[in-house]
């Protein structure tokens, strides 16, 4: 099979995938998204002969648009652009989870600093302000006081581009210094890890310590439902444990797995490629 890897940067995650695909004898077509021009009807030449495109774009904006074009050309692509569209935006992500009755932190979106301030005061302190688009724990604010809220909102309004004027305010969840990352393929967990830190942000990208995590029935059920909520695919589902059970704070569509691969005994790239092979076979049958 010929797998098209749509990328702009080859991270360790992509290297693991490339190595696994090549070891299995697959043809791999690396497609640098920065060099492509997407017309309305014909795919760029680099996509010729590709059986399945695997979106590994580092930039969310490119991921969302490129997968939409690839899908429009009727070239099978994972993840689907609808999934990318939902996961790329925290507000859409939250709505999708709630619509599918997946527990998720209480969230309010407002469009002016006054309305956002009201929402923050209603949540009380601390609460959390996040950008609707962003990753790796960047630009996240835990707001401990009204004066801090005023300063952050003013900065966002003054310095931010228009997306920063979509104020995404969320309850602060007491998660005991850790959260859980589950890598799942169409709702089936590949592996899971707990990410722990003294900092309130526990992203692996922020240096959180990681360890293998065994999922109980409640978590298994939530991962499946969270995956369904965003349309399935190769996903990173993030959960927090609370006194009342788990809550899912987001689902990532362009999931990194190098930290997970090191934290667990599971051969994560092998399991991912198993799934990619299945998707490519399914696409071949339905073509």
């Amino acid at each position: 099979m010929n797998f098209g890897i749509l990328y702009s940067r080859i991270r360790k995650d992509e290297k693991l995938l490339l190595s696994e695909l090549r070891d299995r004898g697959h043809e791999v077509t690396k497609i640098d998204v920065r060099k492509q021009q997407f017309g309305l009807s014909e795919p760029p030449a680099d996509f010729e002969g590709v059986d399945l495109v695997v979106d590994r774009c580092l930039a969310t904006s490119r991921s969302v648009y490129a997968t939409r074009f690839v899908d429009a050309y009727d070239i099978p692509v994972v993840n689907h652009p609808d999934t990318a569209g939902v996961c790329a935006d925290k507000a859409k992500n939250s709505l999708a989870l709630v619509e599918n009755e997946v527990p998720t932190p209480e969230t309010t979106v407002a469009f002016t600093t006054d309305a956002a301030m009201e929402a923050i005061e209603e949540f009380g302190y601390p609460c959390v302000l996040k950008p609707v688009v962003g990753s790796w724990g960047r630009l996240m604010a835990k707001i401990d006081s009204r004066t801090a809220a005023e300063a952050i909102l003013e900065h966002k309004e003054t310095l931010g581009h228009y997306e920063h004027k979509v104020f995404y305010v969320q309850e602060y969840v007491e998660k005991g210094g850790e959260d859980i990352r589950v890598l799942a393929t169409d709702g089936e967990p590949v592996a899971a890890m707990v990410r722990s830190s003294d900092h309130w942000i526990t992203n692996a990208a922020k240096g959180a310590a990681t360890d293998e995590f065994g999922l109980d029935d409640e978590a298994l059920d939530l991962v499946e439902r969270a995956s369904d909520a965003v349309g399935g695919g190769l996903l990173g589902v993030d959960l927090m444990g609370t006194e009342d059970g788990y809550t899912v704070h987001e689902v990532n569509h362009n999931v990194e797995f190098k930290a997970l691969n090191e934290a667990t005994d599971v051969d994560v790239p092998a399991r991912v490629v198993d799934w990619l092979e299945t998707k490519a076979e399914q696409a071949e049958v339905s073509a």
Partner: protein
């Protein structure tokens, strides 16, 4: 080995270097992108963008 385009120091490379991979210059700390591997050609890596990530 190849030369850092920022400081001219020798940069050590892995055998399995991929086009699109980032390597760090251990002398000046510059992030360099492999834009070719045969022969190896390095360029300055793009700066971090706000929408990068998962």
């Amino acid at each position: 080995m190849t030369e850092c385009i920022e400081c001219g120091a020798e940069v050590t490379l892995h055998d399995d270097l991929e086009v699109g991979e980032i390597v760090d210059c251990s002398t000046c700390g510059a992030e360099l992108e492999a834009v070719d591997t045969d022969p190896v050609e390095l360029d300055s890596a793009p700066e971090l963008e706000e929408d990068w990530g998962e």
